[in-house]
């Protein structure tokens, strides 16, 4: 029954049988996290228009990869794809380059050498009463000005509410790295807010 097998295979190829499965899967795995996907894309790209392109592209990728989804942590899975799509999209359209680990170490070293350690950062930390009065535009500027590796963890944790473990999955780093990037990122935001209020 060669012809019969051919028909069945053709049906499957033409996405009539398997296609509906992956479409249903896409609708239940990806669509519920669309707002989160868009929010992350918006923070990584800095623009709503670019975020639309990135999110659509990420959704296409998620759809093609839906068979590899293992049924756990759907949001982190979707956001991982969004993050990777954002990086390649920005690389293509804006010459974006993610700060490499070496660069980051160099940056850290400089900071250590210049004495930008905990003591000094704490000295620059604005009072919590002043922080509470910061407006959304200043916050937005402070977050947008962060280096990408810091911005993504701060956004994922403090705006999107992911756990350290989920952030590690999305950013592809160990939890220890998540912790150090998060604390450095937050400290930088606080420094910017403090400077703004001084000036």
């Amino acid at each position: 029954m060669g012809i019969f097998r051919f028909i069945i295979q053709s049906y499957e190829r033409s996405a009539c049988v398997d296609g509906n499965d992956s479409k249903a899967r896409f609708a239940s795995v990806v669509l519920p996290h669309l707002a989160d996907a868009f929010t992350l894309a918006r923070w990584l790209s800095g623009s709503r228009a670019d975020a639309e392109d990135i999110t659509q592209e990420a959704c296409l990728r998620a759809f093609r990869a839906i068979e590899t989804f293992r049924g756990e942590q759907a949001r982190a899975w979707v956001l991982t794809i969004v993050r990777n799509t954002a990086h390649s999209w920005l690389a293509k359209n804006r010459n974006f380059k993610l700060v490499s680990v070496d660069d980051l170490h160099a940056e850290d070293r400089t900071e250590m050498e210049l004495g930008g350690s905990l003591g000094e950062a704490a000295a620059m930390t604005p009072e919590s009463k002043l922080i509470a009065q910061v407006d959304a535009a200043d916050l937005e500027t402070a977050i947008a000005g962060l280096p990408d590796v810091f911005r993504e963890v701060v956004v994922l944790r403090d705006i999107q509410g992911l756990s350290y473990q989920e952030i590690g999955m999305v950013a592809g780093v160990a939890i220890g790295t998540v912790m150090s990037r998060l604390s450095r990122g937050r400290r930088r935001v606080l420094e910017r807010l403090g400077r703004r209020q001084d000036g």
């Binding site: 019969f4 028909i7 053709s10 033409s14 479409k23 707002a35 929010t39 509470a132 705006i159 756990s163």
Partner: protein, 249 residues
Amino acid sequence: MTLRGATPEHASLLVHAYLDGELSVSEAVEAERAIAADSTLAAEAAAVRALKHVLQTKLPPERLPPDFTARVANRVGLARRPRPTWTVLAASVVLAAGLSSAVTSMLLRTTDDAIYAESVDSHLRALMAARPVEVTSSERHAVKPWFNGKSVQAPKVADLSADGFPLVGGRIDVIHGAPVPAVVYNRRLHTISVWAATEAQAERLTKGATSVNGTNLVVWRAGDMTYWAASDLNAAELATFARAFAAAP
């Protein structure tokens, strides 16, 4: 992980983790002690706590652009009805000449059944969510306008409380690639989701009644609209519901 003997850098990481609720109970107790004993850590904790609060309250998640979900659904082909390629059509002709057409109809039915499975999925997903509806009201005049502009079809929202089916509210599902209004009713402890079909969906709802993994489905026409409903309610009572819905003004 303990704070005793920790470097300032390490202690600071733990303060952040403490404020993020990522420490175990014993670690959290240690962190609290350290914050109380060290004014630098205390200042950092206060600032980070305030920062976390303003970030959460002043930078809410982005709102999706209008129709964005529908556009994404379109992009991945959720909205298009799958069509067999020409090779399949050609082969089907050859096949039809030699084989019983029952085989073809069996294959076709597999694809048509997908709409029932998808609607049961939507129904079950809604039950698992915190609330099975996006607009909660037992008042039909509050539910009906909520659908305006959210879907092409304006569903009938009938008051069936006298028949023992109180109205719970409504939501929008995406079934077979199209947003579709869902009106939700209760029967004792059972929840019933009722959808108003688009034309494309109506074409696929060829069965009067069926069930998918224990969830019953019933399909009926009222005027020029096709409705279908899913519930774990028994098939007889679900049919009663459909009759009451169709008869209601």
